[in-house]
Symmetry: C2
C-alpha cells in the first residue's frame, strides 16, 4: 500500500501508482480539473490533474469534497508552484461518497466550531498536524528513554492510595448508586476492590520502586484530576511522563530534563518539518525560532531565593508581590525567562509549598525541588530529588498529618537498599502546546474531558 | 553514568570504572570475597572480587545483600566460568544499607510469595526479566507502527458511551457516596460530567475516526473490565493495542497482524537474548523454539466453518461439542493449532456471536471477523473488517436493540467519506505471557488489579 508520504519522499516521477485517500478540495474548469488529495499520512496534499480526454470526465467533475477515492495515475513533475509533484489521473474508483453538507469544507473554521466536530477535526490541516505532532512527540519520548536504557513502567491507573494533596480524585466503583441511595448506606465491602478506589493522579511513588530495581525507569500514561477548573490549561484526563532515576541527585535530574527536552524538540523538528513550518506561519509566529533557540541554549540554573531577589529588584509593578518562601506567579515566570533570555531551572524551593517526598536540604527550610520555566510557556516540568532518609521522611509525614500504614511499602524502599534518587514529571499536553503553539488543552487531546464534557 | 549493561557491551578490559548498584549476593572466604552486583540495567550480574589486601577488607565483608553501593575498580577478564568479565575492587561507598530481614534473599522464592512483595519483586531474576520484556515489547510495538506511518492515538479513558456487550464497566464519579446514601437519590446533574461515566473497555470506535483521517492509526493504553473473574488470564486493568486501518480489508488486516507479531517477537528475541534464554531454561522449556518457529512460519488462514468441520471429524472426545454457528472452546483452539502445526487465523465467524460493527458478509450468516490462535497460548489477537455501509450498520444496531443517538458520530463516519476499513486488538499482557511463558497475568503487570485486590 503506497502512502502519499512515500510519493513525496521517494522518486516516483513517470511511474504509475494506485493510491487511496480523500478529496480535500476540488477545483473544476470547463475542460480540466484539480483534486487536492490526501490519505492522512503526510501534511501536504497530492494534486491530481485530469482533463476531458478521460471518458468519465463528467463523472469525475461531480466528485464531492470529503469523498474517499482510489486513484490510478502517473506521477509527474508539477508545473505549478507550491508543489513538487502531481498526479495525472488515469482512472478512479469511488470508495465512499460524502454529502454536500459535510462540515469540513476547504475554508477557515474556528477552533471552537471544530471542537464541536471533534471526530472530524483531524481532517483539517491544523488538527491533522497537531495530532501527528502528538504521535511523533510520544514516540520521541519513548525513543529517548529506551535508547538510554530506561525501563518503561505502566503505573496502575486505579489506586486505593490517597495521593496527598496532589489534587481532587475521581472515584471508581461498581456499587450500584441507585441501590446505595435506596439502602441509605455505603457498603465498601461490596465494592469491587472491597474498599474505596480512585483514578491515579501520579505514578511517581510506584515508579520509585522500579527505579530502585532498574536504576532508570519512566512512566507514560494517563492521569486524572477531578478539579472543577475551566481554563485553557486544565483537563480532567491527560497524559504524563514521569521518569525516576536511582543514584541521581538534583543536578543529575536537571541534566536529564534538559537533555530529554532538547532531544524531543529536535526529533519533532527533524521529522515533521512541514507541520512545524505550518504552526510557525499560522499559529505562533516565531515558533521555530523559539524551539531552535531552546535546543541550542544552556538552561540557567538558579535558586528560588535568588529568583525572588531578582523579582523584588525588578523595575516592574507586580500584580502579585514576590515573596521569599512563597510560590511564584505566571507574571514572575514570564519575567524570569525573559531576564535570562532562555529556559530557567528554578531550584531549592521552600519546603512548605512542596510535596512530602522531596529531599530536605541541610538549611532546614528548602527542598531539592526544581521547576523548569521556558519562554512563552512557563512551567513545563517539575522534579525533585526524593528524600531517601527513612526517619526524615517519616518525620515529614508526621508533620503533615499523613498516615504511614498506607505507604509502608514506600517507606520500606528507604530501608532496603534505598539510595539517592530523583525524578520529574512532564505533562504531555503541556509539551504539545509548547511544540505547536496551539494554546488550548482541548485542542491537543483527541477527545478531551473537562467539567461537564465527556463526549465520544 | 556507566551502566552494568555498558560493561558487558563495550570493551572495558583493564579500565578503571566507578559504578552504582545493588548487592544481589555476597560470598565470603577468609582472605577474599565475591559480590554479585547489579544496577538493574542488564540481566547478568557483574562479579566483584576483593581480597584482604584492601585496608577496609573487614568492613567490606560485612556488606549486606540488598544494599546499595558505589564501587570503583578495574574491569578484568574473568578466570571463572559463567561470566566474561569481572571487577577487581579498589574502593567502595555504601549508599544505602539493607537489614538482614530483607525479603529478597538469593534463593528460590515462590511467585505467590513475590506477589505479596510486588514492590520488591522486580529485583529478582524472574520478575526483573519479565518487566524488562514488557518494556522492550511495548517499545517494539511503537516502533513497528511508527516506522510504518501509523499515528499513535490516545483513546479517552473516561467515557460516557456504553460499550455494547464488551464487558462490565467501572463507574467513574465525583458524587459523594455518603451523601447519595443520605439523600436517597442519585442526581447525575451534580456529577462531574453531568451524566454517568465509566472507564473504557476499548478505544476502537474512537480509533476509527483517526483511521478515517490518517489512514493508519493505533492505540496503546489501559482498558478496564469490572468482571468478577479470578482466573490466571483476567485482570481488571490491562493494556491494549488497537490498530485501525482505512482502505484495508480482512486479508490486509491479517497481513498486518502477522507482520506486526513477527516483528515484535523478533525484536524482543534480538534485544533481550539473556532474558529469553532464562525463560526458556527456567519457565517454559521450548519457548525459544516456539517463538523462532512463529517468526518463520506462514500463518494458516481458514474459515470458522472449516474449523468446525475439522473439529467434528477429529478423533477426539470433546468436553464441549463443536457446533457450526457457535464459539470454539480452549480445547478446540489447542487442537486446531496442533492440527496446522502453527498459528491459525480463524475467519468469517457466525455474526450472532460477534460485535455489531463487524462487516456483514454476503452470505448473510457470517461477519468478516478473525481470531488469531497461536500454539501454546490460544487466542492472541482478534480483529475484523468494519461495516462501512451506513444502512447495514443501522439495521444491525436495530436488530440488537442498540440506541443510535449515542453513536451518531460513529455512524456519520460512514457518511462522510467512509470506506472499507479494518482493525484488530491485542491484549498486551497476553502477548507478554506468550513471550515469557509466565502464565499468570498477575505476574506480568507491575501492580495488578483484580477483584478485591488494589494494593500499591
Amino acid at each position: 500500500m503506497i502512502d502519499v508520504k512515500d510519493l513525496f519522499a521517494e522518486d516516483y516521477i513517470n511511474k504509475e501508482v494506485s493510491i487511496s485517500g480523500w478529496i480535500k478540495n476540488h477545483r473544476k474548469q470547463k475542460e480540466f480539473g484539480f483534486i487536492d488529495f490526501n490519505d492522512g499520512t503526510y501534511f501536504k496534499n497530492l494534486q491530481i490533474v485530469y482533463d476531458n480526454s478521460l471518458d468519465d470526465f463528467e463523472e469525475i467533475q461531480k466528485l464531492h469534497i470529503g469523498s474517499a477515492i482510489t486513484v490510478a495515475g502517473k506521477i509527474i513533475k508539477s508545473e505549478g508552484t507550491g508543489q513538487s509533484i502531481e498526479m495525472k489521473l488515469i482512472s478512479y474508483k469511488l470508495e465512499g461518497d460524502c454529502p454536500e453538507d459535510y462540515p469540513i469544507q476547504p475554508k477557515r473554521h474556528t477552533r471552537e466550531f471544530l471542537r464541536e466536530q471533534a471526530y472530524l477535526r483531524t481532517r483539517t490541516n491544523l488538527f491533522g498536524a497537531v495530532f501527528r505532532v502528538r504521535s511523533v512527540a510520544a514516540y520521541a519520548i519513548h525513543k529517548y528513554f529506551q535508547d538510554n536504557g530506561y525501563v518503561y513502567f505502566h503505573a496502575p491507573i486505579i489506586t486505593a492510595a490517597d495521593a496527598e494533596g496532589a489534587g481532587e480524585m475521581f472515584q471508581v466503583t461498581t456499587l450500584d448508586l441507585d441501590k446505595v441511595a435506596k439502602s441509605g448506606k455505603v457498603d465498601y465491602t461490596k465494592d469491587f476492590f472491597g474498599k474505596p478506589a480512585s483514578l491515579t493522579v501520579s505514578g511517581q511513588l510506584q515508579a520509585e520502586s522500579f527505579a530502585l530495581s532498574y536504576k532508570k525507569t519512566y512512566t507514560f500514561g494517563p492521569t486524572f484530576r477531578a478539579e472543577n477548573s475551566n481554563t485553557k490549561t486544565h483537563a480532567s484526563e491527560f497524559w504524563m511522563i514521569e521518569p525516576e532515576i536511582a543514584f541521581c541527585d538534583l543536578e543529575g535530574d536537571m541534566n536529564i530534563m534538559e537533555e530529554m527536552l532538547k532531544y524531543v524538540v529536535k526529533y519533532v523538528l527533524d521529522n515533521l518539518p512541514e507541520e512545524m513550518e505550518f504552526f510557525d506561519k499560522f499559529v505562533e509566529n516565531g515558533l521555530l525560532e523559539k524551539l531552535n533557540k531552546l535546543i541550542n541554549s544552556k538552561f540557567t540554573r538558579i535558586d528560588h531565593e535568588e529568583v525572588i531577589k531578582i523579582l523584588k529588584e525588578a523595575p516592574v509593578k507586580w500584580e502579585f508581590q514576590p515573596e521569599y518562601g512563597e510560590d511564584i506567579a505566571k507574571e514572575h515566570e514570564k519575567y524570569i525567562t525573559e531576564y535570562f533570555n532562555g529556559p530557567v531551572f528554578i531550584k531549592n524551593w521552600p519546603k512548605d509549598i512542596k510535596a512530602f517526598y522531596m529531599k530536605q536540604n541541610p538549611d532546614g527550610k528548602t527542598v531539592a525541588a526544581v521547576d523548569l520555566e521556558v519562554p512563552g510557556a512557563g512551567e513545563l516540568m517539575g522534579g525533585s530529588q526524593r528524600e531517601e532518609d527513612y526517619d526524615k521522611l517519616v518525620n515529614r509525614m508526621d508533620e503533615l498529618g499523613m498516615k504511614q500504614d498506607e505507604l509502608d511499602w514506600y517507606l520500606n524502599l528507604r530501608k532496603f537498599g534505598g539510595c539517592v534518587h530523583s525524578g520529574f514529571g512532564m505533562g504531555f499536553e503541556r509539551l504539545i502546546i509548547y511544540l505547536t503553539g496551539v494554546d488550548n488543552i482541548r485542542d491537543v487531546i483527541p477527545y478531551p474531558r473537562t467539567p461537564g464534557n465527556c463526549d465520544y
